[in-house]
């Protein structure tokens, strides 16, 4: 029982990271019906920026927020410069652009920061906590906390601010929104910026656990895909829940059923199974554009 609860807790902790990245993916999917295959590498690159800032003497939280600003600008610019020209192109062209970005960020990180594995600091204390009989690391709790804070902020932003409402309107009815005076193009770029910033938090929360290296996000991206599909790729709340579910499933299956060696196949199996059985996911809308 004790072991089971421990597995559940650490599943939730990694689930929080998948959930953040899944949320970033879903935000972009909702607005443009694109799946950003470079989301993980953008997050990884932002994490390197945070690492550089910390190495330059910034405090952790200063570096954290500066990195969010950097990621936001990066996402904004990528949408403006690279994604918009292919917005109406066939799926293949869009995928090619995203894969190009993936490769560029990956090699750029390798070039600038080398491929050697680095440790990344956690803002939370080191020693293990005892919650009753259960063990958790403060970083696990902190990562879940950060995910939840991000969620609440995103929810509040889309629910209560004029910009958030305008972004939702632009995603759902671009033409009517334009007639109502919303600058749809700018809203899409804003959405990309926000998604990149959310991805960056996932990167910074993941790096203390998986260590910082250019390929650190590839597995996490696959789990985020699985989470987003499971929850419904057009439903942000569902995708977050899906991310947490995938984290728990991954840990439980890894601990009790199949071992940790083929965890990635679990994600693949989940993706194919969701596409087969319930393509719109658990909480997705009815229509699914392919």
């Amino acid at each position: 029982m004790e072991a089971l609860v421990n597995q559940l807790l650490s599943g939730l902790a990694s689930g929080g990271i998948y959930a953040s990245l899944a949320l970033a993916l879903v935000m972009i999917y909702q607005a443009t019906h694109h799946v950003n295959f470079a989301q993980g590498e953008m997050a990884m690159f932002s994490t390197y920026v945070a690492w550089t800032l910390i190495a330059a003497g910034f405090g952790y939280w200063a570096a954290f927020f500066l990195t969010l600003a950097f990621a936001f600008g990066l996402g904004f610019l990528i949408e403006r410069l690279l994604v918009r020209p292919v917005a109406r192109a066939p799926v293949l062209s869009v995928v090619v652009v995203f894969i190009g970005l993936l490769v560029i960020f990956n090699s750029l990180a390798g070039w600038l920061f080398s491929y050697s594995i680095r440790s990344f600091p956690s803002p939370f204390p080191q020693e293990t906590l005892h919650l009753g009989r259960y063990l958790v690391t403060p970083h696990q709790l902190g990562a879940v906390g950060v995910t939840l804070i991000v969620l609440v902020l995103v929810f509040a932003f889309f629910r209560y601010t004029a910009t958030g409402l305008a972004m939702r309107a632009a995603a759902q009815h671009p033409d009517s929104s334009r007639l109502a005076g919303i600058r749809v193009g700018r809203m899409l770029a804003l959405g990309w910026g926000l998604a990149a910033a959310i991805g960056a938090t996932a990167g910074m929360m993941a790096a203390p656990v998986v260590y910082l290296e250019p390929n650190m996000m590839s597995g996490i991206l696959l789990y985020a895909f699985a989470g987003a599909l499971l929850g419904g790729i057009d439903n942000p709340g569902g995708a977050v829940l899906g991310g947490f579910l995938v984290g728990v499933l991954e840990n439980l299956l890894g601990a009790y059923v199949i071992g940790t060696e083929i965890k990635l196949s679990v994600a693949l199996f989940l993706i194919v199974a969701v596409l087969l059985v319930r393509p719109r996911g658990l909480f997705g809308g009815r229509s699914l554009r392919s």
Binding site: H33, H34, V35, F37, L82, P85, V86, P90, V91, L92, S93, V95, V96, V97, I99, G100, L101, L102, V103, I104, N106, S107, L108, G110, W111, Y115, S218, G219, L222, F225, A226, L229, G259, E261, I262, K263, L264, S265, A267, L268, I271, V272, L275, L276, P279, L288, S290
Partner: protein, 326 residues
């Protein structure tokens, strides 16, 4: 459908001339090369087969596969296991590996093809990421050799032919490449090819005309997996080694780079793409270990915006311009 339409379009004189020149080069040039250059050229041929298969799927049929390296891996491992475990000679193991890969492709394609476009890209991306880990799995180690992979022996030229091993491997690979290009060309120029292209460009109209979308899409997926499998097996025989880390997601991405740069929806593009992914990384590697991938990325973006039909398309436009001038 008019019976005349069922026949493949005969080759034009210009095409025959070009094919003859390429064939003569492919047969004679190797005689002047040393062992390592021959090995590189053999790899180019294997890449070209894989790219041709991927182009059938993505270029002609518009289905995106981001994990085609997985089917190369399946072909390579099938050939290696058949040769080392079952004592099959390499020239039988290669076609057998193609069949294994075809079956794997059909099996994976059945569920994946129910949803088009992006979802297929997602599922194949997952396959490409997950397969290397699966190949290392302890439970399969007895077959796959785990992290160590499988070492193969280098085949000798048969019938006492006075060819050294590298030259023989090259000609062996060439003898597989030529028919595969010929078959692909006839597939594409015929009824099936028109159906594939119609499903890419106007799926609703194609289905309304009676094209069985699911069947053709599955066919394209299966055939492209077969091509990838044969390519993987040929490369494995040439390298005499298979290991999980040769088939990471980046290998699959390299294949995508190959078809995009060579030319989507073009047969000769497979060859240009293969030359690119074989030689450009070697040259770029001298700059930095990250440089090949940076170049891949930049070329991918450049092709997406500036050269949507890749090298083959650019050459075609040049030829048309010259023809108009002359």
């Amino acid at each position: 459908m008019n019976p005349a339409n069922r026949k493949a379009v005969p080759a034009t004189a210009a095409e025959l001339r070009a094919a003859a020149v390429v064939l003569a080069l492919a047969l004679l040039l190797p005689l002047a090369l040393d062992g390592y250059q021959l090995f590189q050229l053999t790899q180019v041929l294997a890449y070209a087969i894989a790219l041709l298969g991927l182009n059938l799927l993505s270029g002609y049929n518009g289905q995106v596969s981001l994990g085609h390296g997985a089917f190369c891996a399946i072909g390579a491992y099938a050939a290696a296991i058949l040769m080392t475990r079952f004592g099959l000679p390499y020239w039988l193991a290669v076609p057998a590996a193609g069949v294994v890969s075809l079956l794997a492709g059909l099996l994976f394609g059945l569920p994946a093809l129910r949803l088009g476009g992006l979802h297929l890209a997602l599922a194949t991306f997952g396959l490409g990421l997950a397969l290397p880990q699966l190949l290392k799995y302890k439970g399969l180690e007895a077959w796959t050799g785990g992290v160590q992979g499988i070492v193969l022996s280098k085949p000798e030229a048969p019938f006492g032919l006075p060819l050294d091993q590298d030259l023989w491997l090259y000609y062996f690979t060439l003898s597989a490449t030529l028919p595969m290009f010929w078959v692909a060309r006839n597939l594409i120029r015929g009824r099936i090819g028109r159906a594939l292209v119609a499903l890419r460009d106007a799926p609703i109209a194609a289905v309304a005309m009676g094209v069985d979308s699911a069947r053709y899409r599955l066919f394209a997926f299966g055939v492209s997996a077969l091509y990838a499998g044969v390519a993987g097996a040929l490369a494995a025989v040439a390298v005499q080694f298979v290991a999980p880390d040769s088939y990471t997601i980046f290998f699959s991405i390299a294949l995508l780079v190959g078809i995009v740069i060579g030319g989507l929806g073009s047969i000769s593009g497979a060859l240009y793409g293969a030359l690119f992914i074989q030689f450009v990384p070697n040259i770029a590697d001298e700059l930095s270990s990250a440089a090949p991938w940076a170049i891949y990325g930049v070329f991918l973006l450049a092709c997406a915006y500036l050269l949507p039909q890749g090298v083959a398309g650019a050459l075609r436009r040049l030829a048309i311009r010259n023809a108009r001038k002359g």
